[in-house]
């Protein structure tokens, strides 16, 4: 059995108000402790902002600057430049945001920062919806998933943000999952050592938003990885793809069946989603082979 081996320096503190069993808090713990003390973070309005702490409480041992939903990447860029002019080039600037603040409302700022290759480490906690405001759909919500604003299931596919980001040819884009904590820590470590814009998208099964049991978010995330719904991979310089899990060992249905938001699916819909995942997996293999 592979042991988890990052070093927890208690940079993330208990007493935060994430839901019981929330793997966004769990991921925050891994990321903050891996980045270390010499760091400043921004956080956009999102569950992440709540977890970091609302005034006057803070669950982090590093400074966190709360931004607007549109301006996460722009604010992080500004902080990085200020640190550079203070002669602190090695301080990591983390930009923490949800999927709403990344795929939709903050996309313009992120694209601009990526185009300028600002030296920031952008973490998108992708819970596939506007969850902190009660669970509305975002452009990251997958096909057929029920949210507060798609009660019969979303009719369009999840936006492929990675391809958008790849088009910017930034040094590193990676996916990470709270079921694979060593992989997550390794990717944070790698990103921290690179200069330029790095983006890590972390899949966060949202307990109330997805209809997942309090103790089952890690399991759900693991099934997402093992079924190929959310493959673990890296894209370097926008073109070099590396798959971190080379095999799929679970059906898509085993992943969908964990979640209330897919309870209404017909067998045909499940088949269609499986076919989409198959096609996307083939494309990834193809990308990875061509590097």
């Amino acid at each position: 059995m592979e042991l988890i081996n990052y070093n927890d320096e208690e940079l993330f503190q208990p007493g935060h108000v994430a839901c019981a069993g929330c793997v966004e808090a769990l991921s925050m713990r891994v990321i903050l402790n891996t980045v270390g003390r010499d760091a400043v973070a921004t956080v956009s309005p999102s569950c992440g902002a709540v977890i970091c702490g609302a005034y006057p409480f803070s669950a982090t041992k590093i400074p966190v600057f709360h931004t607007t939903l549109e301006s996460g990447a722009a604010s992080a860029s500004g902080i990085k430049r200020a640190l550079l002019s203070q002669g602190k080039p090695d301080t990591t600037v983390l930009c923490l945001a949800g999927d709403g603040g990344t795929y939709d409302i903050g996309l313009q700022a992120l694209s601009s920062a990526a185009e300028r290759n600002e030296d920031i480490l952008y973490i998108c906690f992708d819970n596939e919806g506007y969850m902190n405001t009660g669970g509305q759909k975002s452009s990251s919500t997958p096909l057929a998933a029920v949210t507060g604003s798609t009660p019969a299931g979303k009719t369009t596919r999840k936006k492929n943000l990675i391809e958008i980001l790849a088009a910017h040819r930034i040094p590193l884009i990676a996916t990470a999952s709270p079921s694979h904590l060593n992989d997550m820590a390794a990717k944070v470590e790698k990103a921290k050592a690179l200069r330029g814009t790095k983006v890590i998208i972390v899949l966060i099964p949202c307990l109330p938003g997805w209809g997942v049991a309090d103790n089952a978010a890690v399991k759900t995330a693991r099934l997402a990885v093992e079924s190929g719904v959310f493959p673990l991979f890296e894209v370097e310089d926008g073109v070099h793809y590396t798959l971190n899990t080379e095999q799929r060992t679970q059906s898509v249905n085993s992943y969908l069946a964990q979640q209330g938001r897919y309870r209404h699916l017909s067998a045909e819909q499940v088949e269609q989603i499986q076919a989409d995942v198959d096609a996307e997996w083939q494309r990834l293999l193809w990308c990875a082979a061509g590097r």
Binding site: D8, Q13, P14, C22, A25, F57
Partner: protein, 546 residues
């Protein structure tokens, strides 16, 4: 003077908010028993010693093993291993090869010459053990290590009981048996060979000299078939046949043997005879599927060229000048309600004849109860004992084949251990009783199999059939060291913490504290989500109620 904090900055740690108040249930570390342990006749701490093998701590594994059983190399060869039948892992792929792992450790201990730890300080009391088979030796070991003076009386010239004169060398090499017995004697057990305790009078006299007695004389009287004249030179009982072969005596029986019986002893007789160059047929009442022998024994016997005539019965034997004619008939075999009981009905018109030179019946043995008449009560075919293995005579305890119909080596060893504990309590009522494992056995559903990838069992190989028929070399090969580690790694460690830190790392609330040995739940912060329990690979934590 300290500056007042700037009102612009968050300055209070979230630590002041005690999220433990959200909780309705809190995890508990329990170290629960594994199902294999519950099924093991010596209640061995299997999850623990298998883990020690995985970590390369072979000596530690051996010490854990011999806490309950001084015969791991013997048990690792011939135990009927009910542990494997209860193993949780079979619900994922295949059972863990517990028995072959036990042999691995037992053999290593013999090869390395490991000795038992010194016995505890000498106690005043002394105990006499009657019978030097596995039950008697197990009790002797458990009492001696607790510091009692132990004197062992054995009727024969050598110790071991059926391990020595019953079980053939191709299943249990006698140097292995010698090694494990010698280690027990080296603890300071006083052995009196050729010293049978003949009858109730002798037993009474012995009891006068000792604080307690343990009686483990086994089941030595063969059951007999009325159809057979045991006086004839062409009849030899299976137990005598095996004892003679085990003692290295030449076999006087003719070329074509018919072995009667379908149990393990019959298989041993038949396979031994094959190794002595005889052609062998087994005649059993039971149909193939109901043969009482282990399926693996039957399969190996078939590989060795033994013919099986099942669902049939001997009716009469005709001795001609140049051999025997065995009159047989097919039977309708019906299993009874309780184990070992059955009825048979001959099928009319189905008679047939077998030609042979000798007949070896191996249909079981009874305990010799008449010896103890007037002193010890019996309970059907065995000596009566209570839950503490004490006989009707206070201070006299009994076990093994003499006191039970669970006729297996490790049952005898387990009974010897339990009686030793009871004798120690009898000698000193202030002794603490055996510590019961806490909680109920861990079910498969509590194992997170995501941490246990599919991996088939590593079966040790067998000697090729040709080589088997030429010698009495052991049939089953041992596991190599790398194989043993790989097989041990398949164990889920059901209910036993392996200090993997998963619970610590998977808590989103930093509510698990790592202690020097183990973990603690910080009740101030635990929200009761249960992620630690869900991500524990061994089922060592569960959610408690609050």
């Amino acid at each position: 003077m300290q500056q007042p904090p700037s009102p612009l900055w968050t300055n209070a740690s979230s630590r002041t908010r005690l999220t433990g108040t959200w909780r309705s249930a809190m995890p508990e570390y329990q170290d629960k028993p594994s199902p294999c342990r519950g099924a093991c006749p010596v209640a061995g701490r299997i999850a623990e010693w298998v883990r020690q093998i995985e970590l390369g701590d072979y000596y530690g594994a051996w010490l854990t093993l011999v806490d309950n059983n001084p015969f791991p190399a013997v048990a690792g060869r011939i135990c009927h291993h009910p542990c494997e039948g209860a193993c949780n892992r079979q619900q994922l792929d295949e059972t863990v090869g517990i028995c072959s792992l036990e042999r691995f450790v037992g053999d290593m201990a013999l090869a390395e010459g490991w000795c038992f730890p010194e016995p505890a300080a000498a106690q005043d009391q002394s105990v006499a053990i009657v019978g030097g088979g596995p039950a008697g030796l197990s009790a002797a070991y458990q009492l001696r290590r607790r510091g009692y003076r132990v004197v062992l009386f054995e009727e024969r010239g050598q110790l071991g009981g059926l391990l020595r004169h019953g079980i053939p060398a191709y299943r249990l090499d006698k140097t292995i048996l010698d090694g494990e017995i010698q280690r027990i004697i080296d603890l300071g057990v006083e052995v009196r060979l050729q010293s049978g305790i003949a009858d109730a009078g002798a037993l009474r006299a012995l009891h006068a000299e000792y604080d307690a007695l343990y009686l483990a004389t086994g089941a030595s009287r063969p059951k007999t078939l009325p159809e057979l004249d045991y006086e004839q030179p062409w009849v030899q009982d299976g137990a005598d046949f095996l004892a003679a072969t085990n003692a290295g005596e030449a076999c006087e029986l003719g070329q074509r043997l018919v072995v009667i019986g379908g149990g393990s002893a019959a298989m041993d007789v038949a396979r031994t005879a094959r190794r002595l160059g005889r052609s062998v047929s087994v005649l059993a009442l039971e149909p193939d599927a109901l043969l009482p022998a282990q399926p693996i024994e039957v399969a190996e016997a078939r590989e060795e060229g033994i013919e099986f005539i099942t669902g049939a019965m001997l009716q009469a034997v005709e001795s001609l000048g140049d051999g025997l004619k065995l009159q047989c008939v097919r039977v309708d075999f019906q299993q009874g309600e309780t184990r070992g009981t059955f009825s048979v009905e001959p099928v009319s018109g189905s008679g047939f004849v077998l030609s042979a030179d000798a007949v070896v019946p191996a249909i079981g043995q009874d305990a010799d109860l008449a010896r103890w008449d007037g002193l010890l009560d019996s309970d059907g075919p065995v000596v009566r004992t209570d839950a503490q293995w004490q006989t009707s005579r206070p201070g006299v305890f009994a076990g093994g084949d003499l006191a039970s119909m669970d006729r297996f080596v490790t049952q005898a060893i387990g009974m010897g251990k339990m009686a030793a504990e009871a004798i120690a309590r009898h000698a000193d009522p202030l002794q603490p009783g055996a510590v019961a494992a806490n909680g109920s056995e861990v079910p498969f559903a509590e194992i997170n199999t995501d941490y246990h990838p599919l991996a088939g069992r590593l079966q040790p190989g067998n000697l090729e059939v040709e080589a088997r028929l030429r010698t009495f070399d052991e049939v089953q090969h041992p596991l190599a060291q790398d194989e043993a580690i790989a097989e041990a790694a398949r164990c889920f460690s059901c209910g036993t913490c392996i200090y993997c830190d998963n619970c610590y790392f998977y808590c989103p609330d930093m509510a698990i504290a790592k202690l020097e040995h183990g973990y603690d739940v910080k009740s101030d912060y635990c929200k009761g989500c249960g992620l630690c329990v869900a991500e524990c690979p061994t089922g060592a934590i569960s959610m408690g109620q609050e």
